[in-house]
């Protein structure tokens, strides 16, 4: 079994109850169509499990393949600095077809963030270090594409459909009890 090498820590974006029975970690890429397809499924999982599940999103931009993946990841990290990570994360996936500086400025504005500061942060690559650190940690943990999920620290190699994910998380929760 391939194990998550980097434990969930203060640098992470965590959605849900800190004391949840189960932790789902996703390594994702905002320009990856499979990640966009799984995004609403993750939302359904969070709704279904409620306080039993916490969700962690880490960046794994395949930037050689997806030219906007890195800038989108840095845009989400910029928003995180202002407490708006999840809002930006959701909007980026919901507007995947329009990724680019125009969209980032609009989304920043919509979320009450300063588009000029965002533009400056992207230019200065302020958040590149965070994104790179997510990426290299993912590589060391055996991330082999996007999305890659870890359920309670173990890489999940099965299908990304809702019932299969539900069953895997259910199994992890009963194992934890």
């Amino acid at each position: 079994m391939t194990q998550l090498k980097i434990p969930v820590g203060p640098e992470d974006h965590v959605h849900g109850d800190q004391n949840a029975a189960c932790t789902l970690v996703e390594y994702g890429d905002y320009e990856c169509p499979h990640c966009a397809a799984v995004y609403p499924i993750v939302q359904r999982l969070e709704k279904h499990f409620g306080s039993r599940l916490r969700f962690v999103y880490r960046n794994f931009p395949l930037s050689q393949m997806h030219s906007h993946a890195e800038s989108a990841a840095e845009t989400a990290e910029f928003a995180a600095g202002k407490g708006k990570f999840w809002e930006m994360h959701d909007l980026l996936f919901e507007n995947q077809a329009q990724l680019g500086s125009g969209l980032y400025a609009k989304l920043a504005d919509d979320l009450g963030l300063d588009p000029k500061l965002l533009q400056e942060a992207l230019r200065a690559k302020t958040y590149q270090g965070h994104v790179r650190s997510d990426f290299t940690g993912g590589v060391r943990s055996g991330v082999n594409g996007t999305p890659t999920f870890f359920i309670d620290g173990e890489r999940y190699d099965d299908s990304f459909d809702y019932p299969t994910l539900i069953a895997a998380i259910d199994a992890a929760i009963s194992e934890a009890q």
């Binding site: 930037s63 050689q64 393949m65 943990s141 991330v143 082999n144 594409g145």
Partner: protein, 157 residues
């Protein structure tokens, strides 16, 4: 599953086309670690397939001064199109004629399918196999095993 050559074995040398007009021998890379990544075929229809993933991870391999070679039974023109489309920044070797000869020499050929296994070899600077791993054919092995093995190599002078 074929039986791979294991750690400690001298890596069989080979000379294969990397582009339509260029050949490369393993022995030319002596002096630095070489990652030899056998894979079944170009054009697997997924995002972030094994070669695309390694393309992203190339800077991590380069920290160890390691050279990455992809190798499959596909021909040079197929490799050229694949590498161009995926913007791969490392050589793909064509184990095309005689078909799969290098995969056979490394114990990584699937006779029944006519393709190579998803097999990884780390060859050290002296040309010995330092680590090898065969992944189930449908599972992208990722790069964690390669990086762990690179870390365990004796430090170069």
């Amino acid at each position: 599953m074929a039986t791979l050559l294991s750690a400690g074995t001298t890596a069989p040398d080979f000379r294969l086309h990397v582009t339509p007009d260029q050949q490369l021998s393993l022995s030319e890379l002596r002096g630095r670690p070489v990652i030899l990544a056998f894979y079944p075929a170009d054009w697997s229809p997924v995002c972030g397939d094994q070669m695309a993933l390694y393309n992203e991870i190339l800077p991590e391999f380069q920290k160890f001064n390691a050279e990455l070679l992809g190798i499959s039974v596909d021909g040079v023109w197929c490799h050229a199109a694949f590498a161009g489309e995926r913007k791969l920044h490392f050589p793909l070797m064509a184990d095309f004629e005689p078909k799969g000869a290098v995969a056979r020499a490394y114990g990584a050929y699937r006779e029944a399918d006519g393709i190579s296994e998803r097999a990884l070899f780390l060859i050290d600077a002296t040309g010995r196999i330092a680590w090898s791993y065969c992944s189930p054919i449908a599972v992208n092995p990722g790069a964690d095993g390669i990086l762990d093995a690179l870390e365990k190599l004796p430090k170069q002078e």
